[in-house]
Amino acid sequence: MALRQTPSLKGEDPFRRIIEACFRREVDSATPFPNETEDLIETGILDSMAWVSFLRAVETASGVSDLGSVLNEQPASIASVLAALRESSKKPLASDHSQRGIGRPAGTLSVLITASCSAQGSRVVPSEEVDHAFGMPIGKLRKRAGIESLAYATKRENELTLGAKTAEEALRDASYGAQELDWIIATSETHHDYPALSAQLHSRLLARENCGALDVGGGCLGLLNALAVAQSLIASGVARTIAVVTADVHSRTLTPDCVAGEFGGLFGDGASAFLLRREEDARGGFGYRLGEFLFGCAGQYAAAIRVAGKKGGGLDVKFEGEALSRAAITRMEMVISAVEMRSGIPRASVGGFATHQPNPRLLTLLAKQCGVSPDAFPPICRTSGNLGSSMCGAALHTALQNAARAEARQRKPIFLTSLGPGLLFGGSWLTPA
């Protein structure tokens, strides 16, 4: 069964909204919206490049994949695209390997985030101290990246302790016991030991023996991957309550003797946890409904960041800072646009942007590029550094906390966007339950 939580204006056809918005991107504002049956290429309204670009944009915005294949041997018209979208929305999800689309039949299995928590390493180190440790000019991290301090794990802290702490806090906050968990889904870009992090969390939290434990990857995109898996497990009916936990301790691997300060100096340590539950099983109170997810991989930027283990120890890091920064901002803005279009929620009405935060300078740039207030981005990285897969989690937790403090009717949607090496990208949205 498919999920369907897309908010749309009363009576508005979401397909038509998407088609019109994508068409507008390809033509100048003076071009009138064409007659539905006109062949856009034959009439010269779009050239063949713009036609393909238009279809790709519709795919991204609607979540319906392989639209172009469906439209082979069809006229290049708005009517054809509209018909293909409507036809695709009728297909049962089981026979469709694509991501869920906007027009899929409405289901009842909405998934809520009912509680959250985040934590940072307890040792707060001024960025100048980190500059010094990495042999960089004092003030470089503050001036170039906008980082004031970094949160480092103490000797007693690691991925497990930080992750368990946040998971326990989230469970307590929602008044759930660990025995109610059906799955623990963990993600970390620094924990590579066995037993895996989810298994260690399973034991530490004393979950039921038949509670599943799963680790998912994706680097800084890990939280979104984990949330999407959790949403699918709940929506499919095999799980009712899931804990998604992120935990990253960079300070033990990205050390001055292993990596350059321009890379290693950006990262801090932290964790986050989210409790997900089927809406109808939620026990009332605060909650945010998870929207659809969109994912992808922009391989053209793959070379901008590569990390591999060296033979005999150490890390081989390829990090093209400027190229990666440009790619990150461009791609996150694209994802926000796609989320905006697919959800039908204008970015101006979003209460918080829980995005990956490479550094404060880039976060400001992203806000500017998106044309939204920087205040809508919880400023986590300024005082903790880049927390890897926990970055988006810490930002989401803060956004949820801000929303919880507001009156229920004043709560606004939250956009979720992140990136990972590859260049993996993903996005989603949350709406108040």
């Binding site: 393909v52 279809l55 790709r56 439209l71």
Partner: protein, 242 residues
């Protein structure tokens, strides 16, 4: 008179854009095995309404010595008709192309940054930044796709970088897909099956597999990347297989 190896490309169904290779005379003797691309053009247009010669033909010609405006620096105005003097086989053409402009990375293709279209699909270079408009490359993988009736290519270079949704403008490949689409029922579906299954075997495993990427003329201040040439050239008898 000079001699040129014809390696034609194709930009539209009504007009051909011609490419050729010249032995590079501007370099030292030990580098004489290098080649440079030229794009002969008529005096009043960027392409030819009718061009009777084939890929692999060696043509005698007479061109003006002046290069075209950047990034289409390969443009040279033709001052008289071409005359075929000989021909070389397809593998040899591909091997000559390998000795002309080549790159394994996106930036190296046109010696400038390549940008992705934020709105939809395709990748482009700025005409003020690109230093040339044609370049060869070997790829780790290549996929052709019929998408909304348009043939598109996605490729991954040896650098690991991916370029998606490049319009395929290779004359022989377009003729091949046109011919395929005119055969029997479920034509598009059958062609798709061929591109998804036989293509890898027939194309990627070919010893003279080679790709050339070109830039369109500037349009809205951008030159879009397109797949100008794909070796091997498709064979008519492949049409019998799907």
């Amino acid at each position: 008179m000079e001699r040129m190896l014809c390696t034609t490309g194709f930009t539209a169904k009504t007009a051909e854009e011609l490419f050729g290779l010249l032995r590079n005379a501007a370099v030292k003797q030990r580098e004489r095995q290098k080649f440079q691309s030229i794009r002969p053009i008529p005096a009043s247009a960027h392409s030819w309404n009718y061009f009777p010669h084939q890929r692999g033909d060696i043509l005698e010609f007479s061109l003006t010595p002046f290069s075209g405006a950047s990034p289409h620096v390969e443009d040279r105005v033709s001052m008289r008709d071409f005359r075929k003097t000989a021909a070389v086989a397809e593998p040899e053409v591909a091997s000559y192309l390998g000795k002309a402009e080549c790159s394994d990375s996106l930036r190296g293709l046109f010696e400038c940054a390549i940008h992705e279209n934020r709105q939809g699909s395709g990748v482009y270079a700025y005409p003020t930044e690109a230093r040339r408009s044609i370049c060869g490359c070997h790829t780790k993988n290549l996929r052709l796709e019929l998408y909304g009736n348009e043939l598109r290519a996605t490729l991954v270079l040896f650098s690991g970088e991916v370029a998606r949704d490049l319009p395929v403008v290779d004359r022989d490949w377009l003729d091949f897909t046109d011919a395929a689409e005119n055969r029997g029922a479920n034509r598009a579906a059958r062609l798709e099956r061929f591109l998804n299954s036989q293509f890898q075997y027939k194309i990627m495993s070919c010893p003279h597999y080679f790709v050339r990427i070109g830039l369109t003329r500037p349009y809205r201040e951008a030159c879009w990347l397109m797949l100008d040439t794909l070796f091997p050239i498709p064979k008519a008898d492949w049409l019998e297989e799907f």
